[in-house]
Symmetry: C2
């Protein structure tokens, strides 16, 4: 199944939540820490209890790389545990000159067998091309991120009057020949989403920043519904996986994603 | 020894060449391919023959990540083989929200014990902060890269009349409280270097793009000399490590870096 099919199928089932596996040894329940593979056990439990309700999983590569080769093995084993019909996003934020981006594409798409990646646009077209050549994948390019630093460069106005992040969205639409591009767009501020949703065109959209970072899930869903639009994912990491730090963590994660799905469904059914 | 001391010491010995270990199984000499650890053997031979003449080594992470956990082990073993007085740059081009950048800093500085990293500036101040807190490291932030895609965003003019890459250089100078910041500045076009060298202030500078990508080594050296400036590294990857694909590859690499050093010394001694 292509990445596009996986995402669209889940959206068609009213599933829009991407579970972020930012799994941290310092934050997982204490009873797991004595296991041989604590992070892998944690991830597997979360996946087992949430995969019927999630639209995607996003693996934050930094949380694994800090453990070196062992972390890479955990990443690979976690990916193998995710059911085949669910989109797997490598949240790796890569981007380099062409021959190097090609190697990153090999790492994420061939070695790790992910469906999707997050990409830094800064270095321009040739730095993104090796990813764009993967027709059956979804390449999410950073447009507007959900952190305070977005003001430093992303929200700088260019001489043509557009913000840098808008210029990037326009460029991503040019790159989207194979319908395999998406953008990352922080959902912390409703006005920004409303002001820009028409610019997104047919691109896939990955929305961080809902929950802990200030964005409202019902507001996002309403905005996409008003625009008669699906092909999007709302990411939630800490809000789901660390909802509960007891032995019931996976059940609590399940309950949380069920609550979110229900909250969304109310709006979608209106 | 701090990263700053390592770089400055080598510059003081008229050493400015950073050897890029973009080591690729498809490009190393045939006789190494039957070894158990071909890339590691290749890297060790290159290091053994060039470490007396190099100012730094730069490891292009993509070339290792494509082999997963094994690649990470090669990365670690290569780093352990580099003499202690030589700067090791993790060319990883990372950058994410604060808690995630912190994990990347842990991976590169604590797990792998590198001295330096390359960073994507796009997400702004808080995405760079966890790196800036490492006072004894050098954080090279992408300003102007050496690839054609630099035109897409890096060379966009902002409403204040500066190019985006210049805005970034100014911001990096603000970030440089601990004298642990540098910039990546592509040396493909001499005019660009001349036009901007005064803007660099006291930042360390890593210059890709010399050799195969079109930049001229004597031109770079002259420009820095005219500006009465050191604290820079000229990167050469393919031009050194793949100079020769026979059993003599390491001797040829040594000869190449010696030639480059001699070429530079002629200008420095003028």
């Amino acid at each position: 199944m292509t990445a596009q099919e996986k995402l669209i199928n889940k959206n068609n089932e009213d599933k829009f939540i991407c579970v972020g596996l930012d799994s941290d040894i310092n934050k997982i329940p204490a009873h797991l820490k004595t296991s041989e593979y604590p992070i892998l056990d944690f991830n597997k439990s979360i996946i087992d209890k949430t995969s019927n309700y999630a639209a995607a999983y996003k693996l934050n590569f930094a949380f694994y790389e800090k453990d070196g080769a062992d972390g890479f093995d955990t990443l690979k084993s976690t990916i193998e545990h995710i059911p085949e019909d669910i989109l797997i996003i490598a949240d790796a934020k890569r981007g380099d000159i062409g021959n190097t981006s090609l190697m990153y594409a090999n790492a994420v798409y061939d070695y790790l067998k992910c469906d999707s990646i997050t990409i830094h646009p800064y270095m321009g077209t040739d730095s993104v091309l090796p990813f764009l050549e993967r027709k059956d994948k979804i390449n999410f390019i950073l447009a507007l991120t959900s952190n305070p630093g977005a003001f430093d460069f992303e929200k700088q106005k260019l001489q043509n009057g557009t913000f840098l992040f808008q210029q990037i969205i326009n460029k991503v639409k040019e790159w989207n020949t194979y319908n395999n591009c998406g953008i990352v767009f922080g959902a912390t501020k409703l006005d920004e989403l409303k002001d820009n949703i028409d610019l997104f065109g047919d691109l896939f959209v990955l929305l961080p920043g809902v929950g802990a970072q200030g964005g409202s899930l019902p507001d996002v869903v309403k905005t996409f519904k008003m625009a008669d639009r699906t092909k999007y994912l709302v990411n939630s990491s800490r809000g789901i996986i660390y909802k509960d730090q007891t032995k019931n963590f996976a059940d609590s994660a399940q309950k949380e994603i069920l609550n979110m799905n229900e909250e969304m469904k109310k709006i979608l059914d209106q």
